[in-house]
Amino acid sequence: MGLGKAVRSWFQVKGRSAEHISFGLRRLAGIVLALYLVIHMVDISTLLLGREYYQALLNLFSSPVGLVFDIILWILLVAHGSLGLYSAIVEAGFLVDRRKELLVAAWAVVALFSLVGAVVIIHVMG
């Protein structure tokens, strides 16, 4: 089965359960974070080209656009972690019949940590 079909199936929202949508978002967050890891390795590697190149990238990341990028990354990281923990518990067969409440708690954690993280990023790096 093709990649396009897989992606469409994972990320379909219409008519899908909250668990399914959370599953799709967790995967999407994981893919973006994996891509970020690659970008980060490239970013670190600019040190080999000289201090000024690395400093130029640091300036880019501390710009308003960079801060927005950081906040989005943080939200994705928190979402991936919190929904991953929910998934690990339920997929091991625990709290299966209470999964709706557990999912609400996982999303509450995402909201809380996202907000705290965004405030910290803006105050410390902004």
Partner: protein, 217 residues
């Protein structure tokens, strides 16, 4: 009420599907299956769809109605139509034979080998467990849609019942295409028209396996 019925059509040999529109008068209380059957009889005799019992017991008329997997015979036009629109499509995860009819052999072929239930008593066992074998769970499952080796929600749920009674499951149920391939999206359970709860049963079977309370043959 006026209903615009849109049907995804595809026949053998076509390079791509098309969507046919039927503007019809419908009773909000009538079933989507009755409406499709009426359109078929009065307007287009080439429209292909499956049906048998008309009361949610046979599982033949599973299809996607306005984006959601349902049994057309127990879905009322009035509750499913959105602003008078009713889009019907074949189930996902199966090969389309023609229009709304799909080949469910992917699911049926797994029953004998994977759950070992289709011995002389198997048919009665399956019905005792309430699964109507409609294939809705396969269509709703993101894994069954994209991973051909996956045994699928209904087969694994039946394996759970066998595990409870026999204390043993076939190797394929505990393998990569079995319970471990599920990613707990639970749309199988949400869309199941008879409340068979395949998702919950898959997770409970996992727990039995993790706790060593079920043997793998």
């Amino acid at each position: 009420m006026k209903v615009r019925l849109i049907v995804r059509r595809w026949k053998q040999g076509w390079t791509r599907p098309r969507y046919d529109v039927f503007d019809v008068e419908a009773d909000p209380e009538e079933s989507v299956l009755d409406l499709i059957e009426r359109v078929s009889l009065s307007t287009d005799r080439t429209l292909v769809f499956e049906h048998a019992c008309h009361h949610g017991a046979c599982g033949a008329c599973g299809m996607i109605i306005n984006g959601v997997e349902r049994l057309a015979c127990v879905t009322k036009v009035g509750e499913a139509a959105r602003k008078g629109l009713l889009l019907v499509e074949p189930l996902r995860g199966f090969e389309v034979i023609s229009d709304l009819a799909v080949d469910k052999s992917r699911m049926f072929s797994k029953y004998p080998a994977e759950t070992q239930t289709l011995e002389p008593v198997a048919a009665s066992l399956e019905k005792l467990y309430d699964c109507v074998e409609c294939g809705v769970c396969y269509s709703a499952c993101p894994i069954a849609n994209t991973y051909g080796e996956y045994l699928g929600p209904s087969v694994l749920a039946l394996a759970y019942h066998r595990a409870l009674s026999d204390g043993v499951v076939p190797g394929s149920v505990a393998g990569s295409g079995g319970v471990w391939a599920c990613h707990a999206a639970f749309d199988c359970s949400e869309k199941c028209p008879v409340g068979f709860k395949p998702g919950e049963k898959i997770m409970k079977l996992r727990r039995l396996l993790l706790g060593g309370r079920v043997k793998v043959s």
